[in-house]
Amino acid sequence: MSFPISIFLYIYFAFLLFWVVFSLAEIYHMLKYGFKTATTFFITFGYLAVSLIIISASLIYISQVNWQSELSVFSGVLSETSEYIQE
């Protein structure tokens, strides 16, 4: 049995959606209920900056993968190699 590895991509994007919703809720709380101080803005900016770095690095990698490759299971499980990095 085989299935395209793009399934992992869809699962990742679903997780990313969940992550974005909760991040927006947290930033909303921080900016609405936090004290009007430099700490509040610094921490919020730091959160956004680090998040952006992680997501950007992930998206750069994602763009290099051929997500149409198929993963075979139950037949020499997960042993095959593939040219999933696009030329």
């Binding site: 699962i11 909760f22 947290e26 709380h29 609405k32 209920y33 004290f35 992680i54 990698y61 993963l71």
Partner: protein, 187 residues
């Protein structure tokens, strides 16, 4: 946004005496916990890439990368959530009242206040090894009207805060006693 210059329902002449959050050690424990989670991620990645370098050529490797990215985003999100839980729990002592602002999770926020002249009893409590070493603990404020105690939790210098509240409450009671209600002036 909150401002120390514009408190919720600020009374005329009210001045902020102290703004208190949980002790920094509480935040430090959270930071160490999340650093450990980042460390596990780094150590696991290093071990895999050192001892099984062929894993990068496997067809399932992109799934591992996505899982790693998800893991990092997840712990980063929960670190921020944990920080907000610490940062938005605030106790404000003014010369007229004490205000307790408590963030419980993302979708629950409790704000309560007590007037200082109503305070009957203030108790500070430091129990346990870490609270004793790092000098943090709880302060409980009992008022005449309320059965439930007003509590400051895991705050630094609980004894000093208790003394401050007691002194401010005495001053506020004296001030209230001097202010004769208008109806008593009419004979």
């Amino acid at each position: 946004m909150l401002s120390i210059y514009h408190l919720p329902n600020q009374l005329p002449g009210e001045q902020v005496v102290k703004i208190i959050r949980r002790d920094f050690f509480i935040l430090f424990k959270k930071i160490v916990f999340f650093l450990l989670l980042f460390f596990f991620y780094g150590a696991f990645s290093l071990i895999i890439l050192t001892y099984y370098p062929a894993v990068t050529e496997q067809i399932y490797f992109p799934a591992l990368v996505l899982a790693a990215s998800g893991y990092l985003l997840f712990i980063w999100l929960f670190f921020f959530f944990s920080f907000i839980d610490y940062y938005l729990d605030v106790w404000i002592i003014t010369n007229e009242r004490i205000i307790n602002i408590e963030q419980q999770g993302l979708f629950s926020r409790i704000i309560s206040e007590q007037r200082l002249f109503r305070i009957q009893d203030v108790t500070s409590e430091v129990t346990g090894v870490l609270p004793t070493v790092f000098k943090y603990g709880n302060v409980y404020v009992q008022t005449a009207a309320e059965k439930e105690r007003f509590s400051f939790e895991q705050i630094p210098d609980p004894n000093g805060v208790r003394d401050t509240i007691i002194k401010l409450a005495e001053v506020d009671r004296e001030r209230m006693a001097k202010e004769i209600p208008p109806e008593e002036k009419v004979e």
